[in-house]
Every structure is written in C-alpha cells, then in structure tokens.
C-alpha cells in the first residue's frame, strides 16, 4: 500500500521532537479523526532554520509530517507557505487515495505554525489560513468517495 519512501519516513522519521524556543508552533487535527500533527518552527531572519514535529496518527500521517519538516527546512517563510499537500505527497512518491488527507493535514500544520509565528511577530494574519484544527470544518479531502466527485 505504501511506497518505499513512505515506509522509510515512517520507520526513520526525520526531525521528531520539540523546539523549546520555537517561534512558530501549530497543531492540527483531533483525536476523534485519529490524526494530530504538531509542528515546531525556529525562524531567524525570515528563514526556517529548524523544524520538528510530533504526530499521533497512521503510517501516512507520520511520513507526511516527517517529509513536511524536511521540505520547510532552509526555506523562507513565503516559500514555506507555498508548499502544497501535493508537493508533500509527490516527495513521498505518492500516497494511496484514502491517505491523501494526511498530506493535507501536514500542509495545514505548516500553515498553522507559520500563522502562529506571524501572530507572535505582530505581523498581519494570513486570511487564506482558515483551518482551526477541527476535522470537517475545513474543505480538505478526507479521502472519502464524495471528495473525489470532481
């Protein structure tokens, strides 16, 4: 079911942990859904110098969080904002359709952490980020049939 890359990121996840002096922390998902991702970012001079994660979730959830931290490291805040769920999935050589929502969650975790950073630095909030971490209040796909209608 899972690609080699996914299994690698699951068995040997990169960047697991917390950043004590993180200046951007975001947590998305909830226990009801069975997926919770927490992303810690250390940003200096607009560059993400360190990223760590903690995840409660399935193999895809762990792999996408791990990959997400790898993708944001070294990027500017603006570049990190542009990382899409598809980019995360592609970097992992793809995910089964039912697991694509994990890549959504990973992208939202990044967005939430960056939003937190923006708030803490007194910058204007990003209106495009409307996820408050609860399942179903966002429009992202959960891999259900009705989500593939289009």
């Amino acid at each position: 079911m899972y690609s080699e890359k996914v299994m690698d990121h699951f068995s040997n996840p990169r960047n697991v942990g917390e950043i004590e002096d993180a200046n951007g922390v975001g947590q998305v998902g909830n226990a009801k859904c069975g997926d919770i991702m927490k992303m810690y970012l250390k940003i200096e001079d607009n560059i993400i110098v360190d990223a760590k994660f903690k995840t409660f979730g399935c193999g895809a959830a762990v792999a996408t969080s791990s990959m997400a931290t790898e993708l944001v490291r070294g990027k500017t805040v603006e570049e990190a904002m542009k990382i899409t769920n598809n980019a995360v999935a592609e970097a992992l050589d793809g995910l089964p359709p039912a697991k694509m929502h994990c890549s959504n969650l990973a992208q939202e975790a990044i967005a939430a952490a960056l939003e937190d950073y923006r708030r803490k630095s007194g910058l204007a909030p990003d209106e495009s980020v409307d996820c408050n971490g609860c399942c179903d209040s966002c429009n992202h796909s959960h891999g259900r049939e009705e989500d593939f209608e289009d």
Partner: protein, 259 residues
Amino acid sequence: MKNAIKENTILISIMFANNEIGTIQPIQEIGAIAREKGILFHTDAVQAVGNIPIDVEKMNIDLLSLAGHKFYGPKGMGALYIRKGVKISSLILGGQQERGKRASTENIPGIIGLGKAIELATKNIDEYNKKLLNLREKTIEGLMAKVPFIRLNGHRSNRLPGNVNISFQFIEGESLLLMLDMKGVCGSSGSACSSGSLDPSHVLMAIGLPHEIAHGSLRLTFGDDNTEEDVAYILEEIPKIVTKLRDMSPLYEVVKNNK
C-alpha cells in the same frame, strides 16, 4: 435482552462470541429465554466453533452460523445449522440443491473439507482451549505489567481463549500494526485509519471507549501454531514499539510533562 422482547418478536439473533474483543455471550441462558417465549433463536457462532464446546440441544439453539476459515477449514465455506422443523425461505432460487434452500451446484470438496475440519477442531477442544488460554493470559499479564496507560477491551475472563484486545493510549493503531508487521507479527486494529472509514470500530465505540482510545487498539489472536516463544517475542517487541510511537506523539508529551 429480555426487556427488548415484544409481542411480535419472531427471531432473536445474538453473536456467540465477539470477533473483536472476544467476549462470550450467555448463549445457554438466552436460548432458554427464547425457548420459554416460543421465539426462534439464532446465533452467529463463527468465532466460537472450534474454541468453545457447543451443544445446540442444551443451549436451545435453533439456527447457528459457522465458517470454515475460523477453524482451519477451507476458506469460502460456511454453514447454517437449522434445527429440524424450523422453516426458512430459499436463499437462492433455481435448482433444487440443498433441499431447495440454496440452488446452485454444491462445492463438494469445500463441504468435505469443512466437515473434516470441524471434526478435527472439536476433537481435543479442551486441550486446545487450555493451550490458547495460557498464551492469552501470559500476553495480557505481561503487557499489563510492562506497558503503562493501557486497557484490556472485553471481559477479562469470559472471552475467547486466544483473544487479546488492548488499547494503548497516546498512539494510533495503524502505526502499531505497521511496526509489528515489520517485526513479523500480524494483528488488527479498531482504528479508523486501518479500516479506511472515518470512524473507529463500532464495537469499541459501543462499549463506551473515547475515540482516541479506540484508535489505539490492537487485537492479537493466538492459534494452533503459536508457542510460548511467540509470547516472549511479543512481550519483548511491543513495549519497544509503543515507546517509539509515544515518543513521537503530541498526546504523550502532555502526560510526560505533567509527571
């Protein structure tokens, strides 16, 4: 159940033993109630046959379902026991096979295999039972002693002799299964992620578990080929896996920091 019986109740159908959490129902007592009220009693005994001695007379069972793959019989074969005198409508219309109840040429090799398998499975049922019970108990007691924040699902003693179902707090079932699989252990889980639906096991929800505890459940079942070495191996590997997953979990973080 007694209170659920109404004037127009014509059938009572209760699972003999639950496949997920292993709990065994009081079938004999239920059968007695059904007989007293003149209501037909069916039981799905798929998990029970070969594990628990079943006497349809003593237990007042009118209809019983069983399936071969649960007692080392051929996969794709099952049977419905129907007490003489109980009338049911045809399942498939067409030819007159199976006394007109199920048309279509019978799977003779499958049927013979099923019959032989039941014969073998029920021959030394007490001995088999004792062996599985030992493996089950060692596993449950061992995990309870070695791993904190866990709970056993289902009745502690009145459960299938080989069934272990435990919820591990702060971690998720599919991850647990993947890691166990890498170590050569096959199990199943009640987590939503491992089933492809959005909801965790309806059984675990029905016994009142909160979602996150249901998501962290693991079911292991022992069988003919399992040994005490297998139990020792499981007791060695599971705690390591749980620790690794908890170290990754934002939920465990909260608990750790509060210690």
